[in-house]
């Protein structure tokens, strides 16, 4: 981790410790060069960052190229079947040793001087080893730099912080909610093909927040869906359901309910059976009545399950999308969008779910198009100089009380449309970017996201 040239913390970020508990977020945090530097130094260097789905590297030698912050990372399954991650940087001069997005390789050979690394990262080939190094180079010390990884339900995460807490602890109980997206059957999910990738002048934080459960935007941004007759819920009941967050950890989820819907409606029959096997009674209680669900793993990995159909006025099927809002600069992202399908489902069901996902999400998706129109414009507005003195309204649910009988971890509130989890999300973000390198990020420092009346 970088320990010198500590990025300076702008005034509007420091101010946020006071404004956030009052329901105000400085607009400039959503597009600012100094904030981006802080995020690289203090957030993406320390958090558990999503790298890949295990199904993207199913066989020995399979690899994909991904990012942690601005670092290129090779995720590869070695010849023994173990998944590993390495910095994509030759230890001799730093050249990129892997240039393809995905493939299969037993080793990676640098195109500059020819140092060759096994897919385990071990340095095995050095041209003119005897003549030039006279065997003084200790190859075992010059393998590709490894990245610490851990997995949950098929998701591979990596962290650049050797001191980071274990992934299980980091997720802090959010696994209960992730299972809805990741356990549609005993064998979980698989990614349907490589992700769609595109770039946008959008700050990753708006996307992570929106997919943390912004049910508020749906009837406006995506009104076309109601107009054409796509949604089973009417606008009148749209706000109903639950919003849950994990205090101090940032993770959050919105679970939309529509009164009167049959349990697990919209899932193919085979998938319902699988979910009943894979989920606990408490998870079934929370998720079987859900019309849709949308959540974010802090900082920038999100999931959505919602019903949609290829043509309007059909009952619709529930597809699952997973997306990574990868920061590529101040107010800039590169998008990775996957469709996750139940591994146990018949191929015809997987194909149909993918096609439905495709009409709704990805760069040409009928939902995604309008989201990016908004996110791009508001990133631009909040990058303006006057935004440093401007606070955005994050008041919803400031004095609400959490539900006492919620069967899952974290704090749950009803209805689903609220900003409580967003305040916890940005409190967690604030905690990371305010903690200098070398100090531990302490989740208990995150300010409470709500203040019920005494």
């Amino acid at each position: 981790m970088q320990t010198v040239n500590t990025a300076s913390v702008p005034e509007f970020v420091q101010r946020m410790w006071h404004t956030l508990p009052e329901g105000r977020v400085p607009a400039k945090i959503f597009n600012d060069p100094a904030v981006y530097e802080l995020e690289k130094e203090r957030l993406f260097s320390r958090a558990w960052c999503f790298l890949a789905h295990e199904s993207e590297v199913p066989h020995p030698g399979d690899y994909v190229l991904r990012w942690i912050g601005d670092n290129s990372i090779i995720v590869v399954r070695d010849e023994h079947g173990e998944i590993r991650a390495h910095h994509n940087r030759c230890t001799h001069r730093g050249n990129q040793v892997c240039k393809a997005e995905m493939g299969n390789a037993s080793h990676f050979r640098c195109s500059y001087h020819g140092w060759t690394f096994k897919n385990t990262g071990d340095l095995i080939g050095v041209p003119y080893y005897r003549e030039v190094y006279r065997e003084s180079l200790r190859k075992e010390e010059w393998g590709l730099k490894p990245v610490r990884i851990d997995t949950y339900a098929g998701l591979i995460f990596g962290t650049l912080d050797p001191e980071a807490e274990p992934l299980d602890e980091y997720l802090g109980g959010f696994q209960f909610y992730l299972d809805f997206f990741l356990k549609p059957g005993p064998n979980g999910t698989e990614a349907y093909g490589p992700p769609e990738r595109w770039v946008a002048d959008t700050d990753w934080k708006f996307c992570a927040e929106n997919f943390g459960g912004d049910g508020y935007h749906t009837p406006v941004t995506h009104q076309f869906g109601f107009q054409l007759g796509f949604y089973p819920s009417s606008g009148k009941t749209h706000f109903m359901g639950y919003a849950v967050h994990i205090p101090g950890r940032g993770h959050l989820i919105g679970i939309g309910h529509t009164p009167g819907l049959p349990p697990f409606v919209g899932f193919p029959e085979e998938v319902v059976e699988g979910m009943q096997q894979a989920l606990s009674p408490e998870q079934i209680e929370v998720f079987s009545p859900a019309r849709m669900s949308v959540g974010t793993v802090f900082p920038n990995l999100s999931f959505l399950i919602q019903p949609f159909s290829l043509t309007p006025k059909q009952p619709g099927l529930k597809f699952c999308t997973m997306r990574l809002w990868h920061p590529r600069g101040p107010g800039k992202i590169e998008m990775f969008s996957w469709c996750l399908v139940p591994k146990d489902a018949p191929q015809s069901v997987k194909d149909e779910l993918y096609r439905i996902y495709n009409l709704a999400f990805g760069p040409a998706g009928t939902f995604e198009q309008d989201d990016f129109e908004n996110w791009t414009n508001l990133s631009r507005q909040n990058g303006a100089s006057s935004a440093a003195d401007f606070d955005l309204a994050y008041f919803q649910g400031l004095d609400w009380e959490p539900l006492k009988d919620h069967p899952g971890p974290g704090l749950a509130f009803t209805p689903y449309v609220t900003e409580i989890g967003f305040r916890n999300l940005w409190g967690t973000w604030l905690n990371y970017v305010s903690t200098p390198p070398g100090e531990r990020v302490d989740p208990s420092r995150v300010p409470p996201a709500f203040h019920p009346p005494q």
Binding site: K99, A100, E101, M102, G103, Y192, G193, P194, P195, E196, R197, W198, V199, A200, D201, T202, V220, T221, H222, Q223, F224, Q227, L228, L310, T311, P312, E334, Y354, R355, N358, L359, G362, P363, A364, T366, E368, Q369, D370, F372, E373, N374, T376
Partner: protein, 184 residues
């Protein structure tokens, strides 16, 4: 939602076939007309140029090693539409809530390198050509340019040429556009 036509261009880079000049001229004219409809945003007329069993695909392009079997994903799609789904997109653009296209983008399709081959079925032609798509939006001087190859199957009908299949292979693995709210 069964679709009839499939890609029928021969594999590899086919040699130019001998096509009667009047067919070539007629197909070229049709492609220019279709591009004009898109650029002028006459979407309802445009979508009727597809056959009822048409399929419109924009596959995901992936950066692979030279030796890899494919770099156009055989499974992943940016768009995989039937005619009915294209009609949904057009109906969406016609609502007051297609925010991504209000105000509308300024889009221009440039078509070149048209090569025509007989299709597998009488009255069908496999047409490969390059397309360059320019898009400008709002008051920003920024613009996007997408390059790609279209692989169409055109069918001769009593109403003139119709598109039975279209695949657009874009020349980027990470698209330099924040959304594809316009047709490529």
């Amino acid at each position: 939602m069964e679709t009839g036509a499939q890609p029928r261009t021969p594999p590899g880079v086919p040699r130019t076939a001998e096509i009667p000049p009047e067919v070539r001229e007629s197909i070229t004219d049709f492609l220019y007309y279709e591009a004009d409809l898109l650029d002028e945003r006459h979407y309802e007329e445009w979508v009727e140029l597809f056959t009822d069993d048409a399929r419109y695909e924009v596959p995901v392009r992936v950066t692979r090693e030279k030796k890899a079997e494919w770099d156009v994903s055989p499974t992943a799609r940016i768009i995989d539409d039937s005619k009915e789904m294209l009609q949904v997109r057009v109906a969406r653009l016609n609502t007051e809530y297609a925010w991504a296209e209000d105000p509308p983008s300024r889009v221009r399709h440039f078509i070149t390198n048209i090569r025509i081959h007989p299709g597998d079925t009488e009255g069908e032609y496999a047409v490969r050509y390059n397309v360059l798509i320019y898009r400008s939006r709002g008051e920003l001087p920024r613009y996007e340019v997408l390059s790609g190859q279209r692989r169409d199957v055109l069918r001769e009908t009593p109403d003139g040429w119709r598109i039975a299949y279209r695949q657009v292979i874009l020349d980027q693995s990470v698209l330099a556009t924040y959304n594809l709210s316009y047709f490529v």
